[in-house]
Amino acid sequence: MARAAVLGRLAWQFGTLAEVVQETPRVSSLYLDVPDWQGHLAGQHVDVRLTADDGYQAERSYSIASAPDDPRLALTVERLDDGEVSPYLVGELRVGDRLELRGPIGGFFVWRGEDDRPLLLIAGGSGVVPLMAMLRHRANVESTVPARLLFSSRTQADVIYRDELSRLGAAGDGLTVFHALTREKPAGWSGYTRRIDEAMLKEVAWPIQESPAVFICGPTPFVEAASQLLVAMGYEPRSIKTERFGATGGTA
């Protein structure tokens, strides 16, 4: 084992589904017990592999939703109707079932609790998942770096982690959560009701001179639009880290 660790080999291993939490009609969090899990950093992902009876395999990447200091590994998965993997994970996988995965993966799109820069997180849809790991970690380590999350969802019902985000934002530890809805303008809604634009970023983003750390995650067009807006506003491109996911949600 020690030699394997030195060589950095990333082995496939099995986790057991311990709990499912439905976040929205299309999105569920899977809480897994993974023996010998080596720990992870906020923002990393795992590869999940399904094997059919005939040997056919499908691999997908899913961001880790749990903080490094949480007791269980959590993945939050959006069910894509034409997907090969997500309809199985959200709908067929039952508590007690085993799931093959490898990880943690990634060292670029990660936030460490000792980072003292103001934090700007921008999420489109299920792109909130790795950013949630960062916010959970920030709360666990009692970091008080000022943090803002701008979270764009289609409708109010599609807002992932809505209650938890509301609790975290009310904790008084320097986190403010801003919501934007792109396909609905519910009565009594106090957040934005449009796509992310420069005026919105001017209201939400930390001033450039405060040198914020910026993490943006979501579908490719969302991520590229948000990062291009920030760069055009003068934010240092190297301070902006992005993670795109494709229309299929799959990367393998």
């Binding site: 060589l7 990333l10 691999e59 993966i105 060292g107 795109r244 494709g246 990367t251 393998a252």
Partner: protein, 103 residues
Amino acid sequence: MNSESHNHARLAATTQVEEARLDGNAIGGLLREIFAVEMTAAVGTCAFCGAVNEVGRVQVYVRAPGTVVRCPECEQVLMKIVRGGGRYWVDMTGVRCLEFSEA
């Protein structure tokens, strides 16, 4: 094909290419198989334009027979990776230098 539908076809193709574009984070697992260490924070130099970027920032297309990695600045091909039949083919013509941590 008249020019209008031709333009529509081109627009649709462009949109599909944009939606298919991922970034280096998506191949963290694949690169770890090949290099045996974490690679998304590795720093690569483009052999065409000299741009220096972390692997997490490069453009990645996975909807091809293999994985195609492009420079985020000049869009030239940095790497092509094909995996199959228990073997890897790794073309790194477009990478002048790749710097990464041994741990």
